[in-house]
């Protein structure tokens, strides 16, 4: 999608809001919204109230400029004017609270980022072996190249002590499996879990703590 369309559209619609020289402003897309949010306290009498007035949203044009106070014939009740002048603020408030709500929904993830490893640890680990152990990108790519059913020693040549172990589990009848876990250095809430059966490497998986 090119930018030419929306820009020219918004420029048409809001041209009365900003001076000519702004037309070259690279950020003009954002200019109209800001203007709408803070209606001019006193509309300058010279400002051209444009042809667009007919199709513009109500909230934009219901403020006093629509009926100049100097008209003696038509009385504009004060109350309505004040209410109308306040309505954009109400919408700003509504918009703001919606943004805040959205931020609340989206936000918590990055905020608790640091705690992630610890929650992940609780979910994954049974016994901590080496707290400083992490898996680097280079180690990970070497590990991915190892075939399932390779000797356990092949895997351990790449990665030293695990961060922790999980409880032994019997998946196949008569064979106890050992499991070890490593947090990724570059993404600590993701854990690399590896499973051995005796001296044989069975496979790996990633565990995402959410």
């Amino acid at each position: 999608m090119t930018h030419s369309h929306p820009q020219s559209d918004s420029h048409d619609q809001y041209s009365h809001y900003y001076p000519r020289e702004n037309a070259t402003n690279a950020y003009q897309d954002f200019a109209p919204r800001r203007r709408v949010a803070q209606p001019p306290a006193r509309p300058s009498p010279g400002a051209p109230y444009p042809a667009a007035a007919g199709r513009a949203p109500r909230s934009l044009h219901s403020y006093p400029a629509a009926s100049p106070p100097s008209q003696p014939g038509r009385r504009q009740p004060r109350v309505t004017r004040r209410a109308n002048r306040r309505s954009p603020r109400k919408f700003l408030l509504a918009g703001g609270s919606m943004l805040a709500l959205a931020a609340l929904v989206v936000g918590p993830k990055p905020i608790v980022d640091r705690a992630d490893q610890r929650t992940g640890e609780k979910a994954v680990c049974q016994e901590t072996v080496q707290e400083k152990s992490v898996l680097s990108r280079a180690e990970l790519s070497e590990l991915l190249a190892i075939d399932e059913r390779a000797p356990k020693a092949d895997v351990q040549a790449v990665i030293a002590e695990p961060y922790c172990t999980l409880s032994p589990v019997e998946v196949r009848e008569g064979v106890m499996a050992q499991r070890e876990a490593y947090p990724l250095e570059f993404n600590p809430e993701t854990w690399f879990v590896v499973l051995y059966e005796g001296e044989e490497y069975a496979g790996f998986d990633f565990r995402f703590s959410r």
Binding site: M98, L101, R172, G174, A202, D205
Partner: protein
């Protein structure tokens, strides 16, 4: 009146926004769970889903058949339940048991997607359970499942039995 009108608008907007968010969240959680291909290392002719004499094969060599009589099937670990390339079978995998896959055939009303250990994954009259171990060539070899895993899948801890 004049003070109530914007407040109503605000309320309306907030409610509609909440509704939208809720809708979005539902859409996310019910997103399509990708189908899992399960190439079996042992290339047996008759497998679940094959036909013989015009009848459907429910379980093949290596499947443990359990008469559940409509009972529940539970997740043995935190993991994911996915549909498989064969309509009547599901694949359960868990990052807690890397290198393994459990194939469950004959499950009704499956709860696809992420499941927690102990959570109901569906029901079954006769469950066909196969434990599969990943091979270097990407196929899955059917192996004998440990009874502990089966007990967990049937919703019983090993202390019960």
């Amino acid at each position: 009146m004049r003070s109530r009108l914007p407040a109503t608008a605000l309320l309306f907007k907030t409610v509609s926004l909440l509704g939208l968010l809720g809708l979005g969240a539902c859409g996310l959680s019910q997103a399509q769970v990708p189908t899992r291909n399960i190439p079996v290392q042992q290339g047996w002719t008759l497998q679940p889903g094959s036909a013989i004499g015009g009848f459907e094969v429910m379980g093949g060599l290596g499947d443990i058949s359990i008469d559940l009589g409509g009972g529940q099937i539970k997740a043995p670990f935190d993991g994911q339940l996915q549909p498989s390339d064969r309509d009547e079978c599901l694949a359960f995998t868990s990052p807690e048991v890397p290198g393994y896959l459990f194939r469950l055939c004959g499950v009704t009303k499956p709860r696809l997607g992420d499941v927690k250990a102990g959570q109901v994954m569906g029901r079954s009259e006769v469950l066909q359970f196969a434990a599969m171990r990943r091979q270097p060539d990407g196929t899955w070899a059917i192996v004998e499942p440990a009874t502990e895993i089966l007990e967990k899948t049937l919703g019983q801890s090993s202390e019960d039995s």
